[in-house]
Each structure stands twice: as structure tokens, then as C-alpha cells.
């Protein structure tokens, strides 16, 4: 199991007010030529398309099989949340996935048109789940945080799109 600091203090950080996941993607794209973007319908199952695309970009960058598996689960979970909680399965909204590569890391933003994360969920507890004291669900964000090097949830202001930003490094950093 990896130990990752979880910067959830950025949970409520502000950003420029933009209107939709599409605009958010346009904004992000102008930054870099090494960016792959994907736009998905808000329908369950399509998270696998984003997952496969992310894996393909990571493979091109030279990530090892293990790290690609970690990334796949993190991207799939982020997309499921964007589809289900962000866009509430609304057919008219898309989920945006922006994959930006540099020399030694891959940054992935998964953007939805929802109001964003309202409060940090409790860590899942298997004992409480097995005793019927908490919902058996609620493991997605925990897995995302555990599997990537950085994860932050950014809430859009005034009705604009929200996103989760994941970062995965090609080489593990030294523990400081």
C-alpha cells in the first residue's frame, strides 16, 4: 500500500468562473501541445473509454504496467464520480478528461458540470461496512488518493464546472 499525503485542503479552492466542462477543457488545452483530451457522455460504462485512453497515453510515456493499473483504477473512479455525482447521469452533459504530459509526470483532470465535492467523505472502514454500520459504497475517492501521487478536488465557483486533478509521476520521488 502506498502512502500518499492527501491535499484535501484544496477542496474548496476557488478558480476562475467558467461555464462548462467544455470551456474548462478549452482553457486547459491552450497551455500545452502534449495534451490529449477526451469528452465522454455521462453514461455508466464510458469510464472504461477514459481509462483505456489514459492507459494508452501512460504507455506511450513509458510508465510501467503496475503504475498503469493504478492509473486505470483512479481514472475510472474519477469518471464514475463525474458521471454519477457531478453530472447526475444527465445525458446532455459531458465529462471532460484532459491528459497533460511532461517529461516525468502525467496530469489528468476529470471535469464535470456539477457543483463539486461539498464535503470530504469519511475514510471507508471495512469493519463498519461488514457490520452494516456504514454504506458498503464510498471507496472511490479513497482509492484514487491511494493510487496516484497527487489528487485534489476543485470546486467550480458560481455554477461552473468542477474537477478532480490527478498526478502520477514516472519515477517515484524520494521520501523526504
Amino acid at each position: 500500500m502506498q502512502s500518499n499525503a492527501v491535499p484535501v485542503d484544496t477542496l474548496y479552492s476557488e478558480k476562475h468562473s467558467i461555464q462548462s466542462a467544455k470551456e474548462q477543457m478549452d482553457l486547459m488545452n491552450s497551455a500545452s501541445a502534449s495534451t490529449v483530451e477526451v469528452k465522454l457522455p455521462s453514461r455508466m460504462g464510458y469510464e472504461k473509454v477514459a481509462m483505456t485512453t489514459a492507459a494508452s497515453v501512460a504507455k506511450l510515456m513509458g510508465f510501467g504496467e503496475d503504475r498503469i493499473e493504478d492509473l486505470k483504477t483512479a481514472v475510472a473512479e474519477a469518471c464514475i464520480n463525474a458521471i454519477e455525482h457531478g453530472n447526475r447521469l444527465n445525458d446532455k452533459l459531458s465529462v471532460g478528461v484532459v491528459l497533460s504530459t511532461d517529461e516525468d509526470s502525467l496530469e489528468i483532470k476529470v471535469i464535470d458540470d456539477g457543483i463539486g465535492l461539498q464535503k470530504q467523505p469519511a475514510l471507508p472502514n471495512i469493519d463498519r461496512k461488514m457490520h452494516g454500520e456504514e454504506d458498503t459504497r464510498g471507496m472511490g475517492m479513497f482509492l484514487i488518493q491511494a493510487l496516484v501521487d497527487e489528487a485534489e478536488w476543485v470546486v467550480g465557483t458560481s455554477g461552473s464546472s468542477s474537477y478532480v486533478r490527478l498526478l502520477i509521476r514516472l519515477h517515484k520521488q524520494e521520501i523526504q
Binding site: 460504462g45 483504477t73 464514475i80 458498503t136 482509492l143
Partner: protein, 119 residues
């Protein structure tokens, strides 16, 4: 647009002579797998089945909603005094199952032979 999960039940006997019910999955384990996971489990006899072995060999994709269904099944089984174990998970999903704590309640074996030998 989601790939359907199939499940199949095999009744085996371990080398030690214990009856073992193997629940084999095929396809994705996701939010749409309720019937394949909970439904298939609930179809098993509460009286005769003592050990349920989950076979993930033919499963490529598991998400947290699917894992939630596995936990719910494990909870129901625990309430009935039944044991649940699993095999055939990739190294990655063994790690994921360990992260969420499933290994506190279930053993993860490499394959069916290893599982049966230990039961």
C-alpha cells in the same frame, strides 16, 4: 453500454474433503453486477453451503461499486456463518482489495488449486 456480468456455480470438494461452492464471475464487476454477485449468492442454500470461493479469473475490470457488492455479499455470508474467500485476482486487484480491507475478512488465493489446498 456496460458489459454484462455472468456468474456460474460449481460445487467442489477440497483435498481435505470439505465441500466448497465456487462462484465464478465473467465480465466486469461494477454497479450493474448486482444480480451476478448478490443474486447468485442468495440463490445458494443457507444450510448446506459453508464456504464460498469467488473466482475472478475471467474478470478484467472491477470498480468500487462492484467491490461494494462483493462486500455486501460477504456481509450477508458472515451473518449466515459462511466463509468467503477469493482467487484469480490480478496483482493490481489484490492490492485494491487489500487497500479497502477485504483481506481482513477473506483470503485471496492465487488460483483455485491454492485455494482448495488451504480449505
Amino acid at each position: 453500454m456496460q458489459i454484462e456480468t455472468k456468474s456460474r456455480i460449481d460445487q467442489l470438494t477440497s483435498p481435505a474433503g470439505h465441500p466448497v461452492t465456487v462462484l465464478r464471475f465473467e465480465g466486469d464487476i461494477s454497479s450493474t453486477s448486482r444480480d451476478a454477485v448478490i443474486g447468485a449468492y442468495q440463490g445458494l442454500s443457507k444450510e448446506t453451503v459453508k464456504v464460498v470461493l469467488l473466482d475472478f479469473t475471467k474478470v478484467d475490470y472491477i470498480n468500487s461499486s462492484g467491490i461494494a457488492l462483493v462486500i455486501q455479499m460477504m456481509m450477508e455470508a458472515a451473518n449466515m456463518g459462511q466463509k468467503v474467500h477469493a482467487f484469480g485476482l490480478s496483482a493490481h486487484f489484490q492490492k485494491v482489495f487489500t487497500m479497502v480491507g477485504i483481506t481482513k475478512y477473506a483470503h485471496l488465493f492465487a488460483d483455485q488449486t491454492a485455494a482448495l489446498a488451504a480449505l
